[in-house]
């Protein structure tokens, strides 16, 4: 049998080694480049070891590694285990970590902005180490320690380019909101652990049913919002578009690909492991938050012309899609439909992996573009498909996948989400059931807007003429960076076409949560068809669709053979309305592209624009025009600004207590002591 425990431990050890190596060599400037390469190779090795351990654990279909280490403090121990859910997330992490490591080999060759490559690798390996522990920790103490380690490592990577004010600001917002989220997690976990009388995750299984109604509700909300901060659900998402774009691109890829998925992992653990059948409102809230995050996430993404911010908003959108699956699963379990709950859970979990893969790919592509042009602003790009053909191709694969178009992986998990939502109509009582198809329709809107957004992102960035000198002089990125992207692009294709062969991975997870290995119901036709629980409910085959799309190319080929062989094929200038030549200034811009949607959703965006024209004779012949356009960030203005003002008001009020006089402080201590003594005597 597979040495799962050894592989897992070795992986952790190599991550730690890479991290320490980076720390040791953090001041090396001359040897920095090859040291960074070595450390990236180490993290690649570690990722492969962890992947091996996770695959082994998934094949074993049960809890495998279960180690614990007594901490010396009563009731507290450090513990890890690889149960199917942990192994699944650890596998996703390993896949992304491996490709990011290869990508980083090329990315760090020219050093890292703001510090030495050694220091960068220290934090990178530390982040991967912490992430592995987050997914495998098996009691509250270890989980929270790993969680905080991850948050801190990620913070230092976000602000790695610490000379840029934007990075510092994004990082500050990230760490502040993460702290708030962790606070909620602390209280939520303590409520659960008190009821169970143990910190072990195994003791918390189905603990939700033994809590009082009040503490059950409170713990659910706290844990949902606490994990939601990390996952980036609306309205606690605002750190995400601030922090993800400013981080170095390989880190943005990890942040959007897997770090936010720790929130999803936490929710999966709490919803489906710790809570048994949750109350109906809980599922409805999760579904509603999913729908809102999906819709608003993509609408805000459409308004962006900063490529990495656009991708960051799409992470919010996809977290929304994942939560639609989770919310439906919760509802199905509440209404006693374990089969459907398993289908919905598979939809959510599969989309988690798929989003990780294509979002990581897109961020690496955006990183390549940034590397080549020095800009994140799409309005300064264009024509890159000729200058960076490989990057363009991989980015296109990611764009098709994230838009949920067949036959790639995004389509498969969105298809399952649709099927879960449709099944909800027949399986729930009257008022609840309408929510499902409406959610499905809004998912359709979200997906269609995502397609529009990626037509914009790909079209404006890569197609037509370059809009700046930097874009004109852009060069293809190094082979290592291309390899990192290629792995993920291939994964997008394989997870799409080979989905039927991948689905058994979910069997041990659904078996653990609902007692049903689901893949037997979701795969039919000798491994060719994906079905919605049964063939009669609907089926699809991405592999056959892909095959037929190619095969139907025979028709145009036949037409060409019949009539087209003698026709000439010339190259000529694009129609320019008779003006002297087409220039990049004639091209549609990203802002112009999204203008119709900005006007249609004006109630949400509240766009403001300003036009100033200079002219000599007549206003119809302007010499120069200055145009400024912006949208109003609704959540920042209506929720966070009042919150900030409120906090500052309370803080300035409390400052009166801290007068700076040592006598006053002594008096406080004295009063506190008396009160505590009184309290103690009374108790």
């Amino acid at each position: 049998m597979w040495p799962i425990g050894e592989l897992y431990a070795a992986g952790l050890f190599v991550y730690a080694l890479g991290s320490l190596g980076g720390l040791a060599g953090h001041s090396a400037r001359k040897t920095g480049a090859w040291l960074a390469s070595l450390l990236c190779l180490l993290s690649l090795v570690a990722a492969l070891l962890e992947a091996g351990a996770s695959v082994g654990a998934l094949l074993a279909k049960t809890e495998t590694v279960a180690w614990s280490l007594y901490s010396g403090v009563p009731y507290l121990s450090y513990a890890v285990r690889l149960d199917p859910l942990s192994a699944y997330f650890n596998l996703a992490l390993s896949l992304l970590a491996a490709s990011v490591s290869i990508y980083s080999l090329g990315y760090l060759r020219h050093g890292a902005d703001g510090g030495t490559p050694g220091l960068f690798c220290f934090f990178l390996n530390l982040l991967l180490f912490a992430l592995t522990l987050v997914f495998t920790a098996s009691n509250v103490l270890s989980f929270l320690i790993a969680w905080e380690l991850m948050t801190v490592a990620a913070y230092f990577l976000v602000v790695f380019d610490h000379e840029s004010a934007e990075s510092r600001k994004g990082g500050l917002l990230y760490i502040l909101m993460s702290r708030g989220g962790t606070g909620m997690l602390f209280v939520g976990f303590l409520l659960l652990a008190t009821a169970a009388g143990s910190m072990e995750f195994s003791a918390l299984h189905n603990i939700g049913e033994r809590l009082t109604a009040f503490s059950s509700t409170l713990a659910f909300v706290l844990l949902f919002v606490g994990f939601g901060v990390k996952a980036g659900i609306i309205p606690v998402h605002i750190w995400l578009p601030a922090a993800h774009p400013v981080a170095p691109s390989n880190i943005s890829a990890l942040m959007s690909g897997i770090v936010i998925k720790t929130g999803i992992y936490g929710m999966a653990r709490v919803f489906f492991d710790f809570y048994g059948a949750a109350p109906v409102w809980a599922g409805m809230v999760v579904l509603l938050v999913g729908v809102i995050s999906g819709g608003l996430g993509v609408l805000y993404a459409l308004m962006e012309h900063d490529l990495k911010r656009l991708l960051a908003y799409h992470s919010i959108e996809n977290i929304g899609i994942i939560l639609m699956g989770f919310g439906s699963a919760l509802l199905f379990r509440s209404f006693g439909h374990p089969q459907l709950a398993a289908l919905a859970l598979v939809a959510g979990l599969f989309h988690t992996l798929n989003h990780g893969v294509f979002k990581c790919l897109l961020f690496l592509g955006a990183g390549g573009v940034f590397h080549a042009t020095g800009s994140r602003n799409m309005e300064e790009m264009g024509g890159l498909i000729r200058r960076m053909p490989a990057t363009a191709l991989y980015f296109l694969v990611g764009a098709i996948a994230i838009s949920g178009l067949p036959p790639l992986n995004g389509f498969v998990s969105e298809w399952f989400t649709y099927q879960a939502l449709l099944a909800g109509f027949g399986a729930t009582p009257e008022l609840t059931r309408v929510a499902f198809p409406i959610a499905g329709a809004l998912l359709a809107l979200t997906a269609a807007l995502a397609a529009a957004c990626f037509v914009k992102a790909f079209g404006i960035t890569f197609l037509a003429l370059p809009r700046s000198e930097e874009a004109d002089n852009a060069r293809e990125v190094s082979p290592a960076m291309r390899t990192g992207m290629a792995i993920l692009a291939v994964a997008c294709v394989l997870l799409g076409l080979g989905a039927t062969w991948f689905l058994p991975v979910f069997d041990p997870i659904t078996n653990q949560t609902f007692g049903i290995p689901i893949s037997g119901n979701l795969v039919a036709g000798g491994g060719l068809l994906l079905t919605a629980g049964a063939v009669r409910n609907g089926s699809v085959s991405t592999a056959v669709i892909a095959l037929l799309l190619v095969a139907l190319g025979a028709v145009p080929l036949l037409l060409w053979l019949l009539w087209g062989r003698k026709s000439a094929r010339a190259s000529g200038p694009t129609w320019d309305c008779g003006l002297p030549g087409l220039t990049a200034a004639n091209e549609y811009t990203a802002t112009a592209f999204s203008k119709p949607l900005r006007m249609i959703f004006a109630a949400l965006f509240r766009p403001r624009r300003e036009i100033q024209a200079e002219f000599d004779v007549s206003p119809y012949y302007p010499k120069a025009i200055r145009f400024a356009s912006e949208i109003q960030p609704a959540f920042e203005k209506h929720f966070y600004d009042p919150l900030r003002v409120g906090v500052l008001t309370i803080a300035s009020w409390m400052r009166r207590l801290q007068a700076g006089s040592i006598h006053a402080y002594l008096a406080y201590i004295f009063v506190t002591l008396i009160l505590l003594l009184l309290f103690g005597v009374r108790g």
Binding site: A452, A568, E587
Partner: protein, 313 residues
């Protein structure tokens, strides 16, 4: 197995060769309503034949995306046509993708068409691409909700199963939910196929173009493939409407006599629907672009009402 293959080939032929006819019929009828003679019902065939033989001019700025687009569009649209029950309730390939696959295959074609338009670097391309993606995105929820209403009635997203269920109750279209869903899908049909009042397929006036703006730079064989795809897409959506809501004459299997009768009934239903579309076209003016979302919002409300009335009636 050979029967299956024959059915697939028959449906390929049907989708390929019937679609220009519906296009030609619509154009001729529209011309007559405008007291013109029109170019005749068979003009689209002559156009396609001519375009296929003509040479092409490819814009210098364009990349391989521009070249790949006609093929992707053609394949996706034709495949969508194979997943839909046309002359038999048993669509030959319906197991490999239901209504979601049809909608998303059309979306894949549109995705590439919009990219191909941006690839030329002309403002027209960007304009068409931006408008097309906007309108299709706004139309999507109405389309899906109406489709869900029908799918939920049949308990399946498989279109053959939906058609079979419809065959079981041929007069079901009189139910309020079906009528409302049909109305919603009819509006979506007009928007998705670029008809007045949403888009005007006959215009080359820059301010009002949507579809035509996207394909302005295409010529020769590529233009033929794109025009043909547009005709096939229209046929696919119309087939969806007529066979799901009015399954009269649709044969349950692939028996020779049943199929011929089914084919005649199918063509007749398509022509009737085309008349309805042309009547809308002839009696309306084109809407301003920013009034289109209101029309599509009406479609969404109709389909939401359709959904709610499924468990009232």
């Amino acid at each position: 197995m050979t029967g299956q293959i024959l059915a697939v080939l028959a449906q390929i032929a049907l989708v390929l060769f019937l679609s220009p006819l519906i296009m030609g019929f619509s154009r001729t009828l529209k011309a007559r309503l405008q007291t013109r003679r029109g170019a005749g019902v068979f003009q689209p065939y002559r156009d396609l034949y001519k375009l296929l033989r003509k040479g092409m001019v490819i814009p210098e700025t364009a990349s391989w995306i521009f070249t790949a687009t006609p093929y992707v569009l053609f394949s996706t649209t034709l495949l969508a046509g194979l997943l839909i029950p046309a002359i038999s309730a048993q669509a030959p390939l319906s197991l490999f993708g239901g209504v979601l696959a049809v909608v998303y295959l059309l979306a894949l074609g549109r995705f590439f068409l919009a990219l191909g338009a941006l690839d030329t670097g002309s403002s027209f391309g960007g304009l068409g691409s931006s408008r097309e993606m906007t309108i299709s995105a706004i139309a999507e929820p109405a389309l899906m909700l109406a489709v869900f209403t029908v799918a939920l009635g049949a308990g399946s997203t498989n279109l053959s199963a939906v058609a079979q269920a419809a065959l079981g109750q041929s007069w079901r279209f009189l139910a309020p939910s079906q009528m409302l869903a049909f109305a919603a899908l009819f509006i979506v049909l007009i928007a998705e196929t670029g008809r007045i009042p949403v888009d005007n397929p006959a215009t080359h006036l820059e301010l009002t173009m949507i579809h035509e703006a996207m394909i302005l730079e295409y010529s020769g064989r590529y233009l033929a493939l794109i025009e043909w795809s547009a005709a096939m897409k229209q046929l696919v959506l119309m087939t969806l409407l007529v066979n799901v809501f009015f399954p009269f004459g649709l044969s349950a299997g692939w028996s020779p006599s049943g199929t011929i009768f089914s084919l005649l009934a199918f063509i007749e239903k398509l022509l009737l629907l085309a008349v309805a579309v042309v009547l809308v076209e002839a009696t309306n003016a084109k809407l301003r672009l920013f009034r289109v979302p209101e029309l599509l919002a009406v479609a969404f409300v109709l389909s939401a009402m359709a959904l709610i009335s499924t468990f009232l009636f």
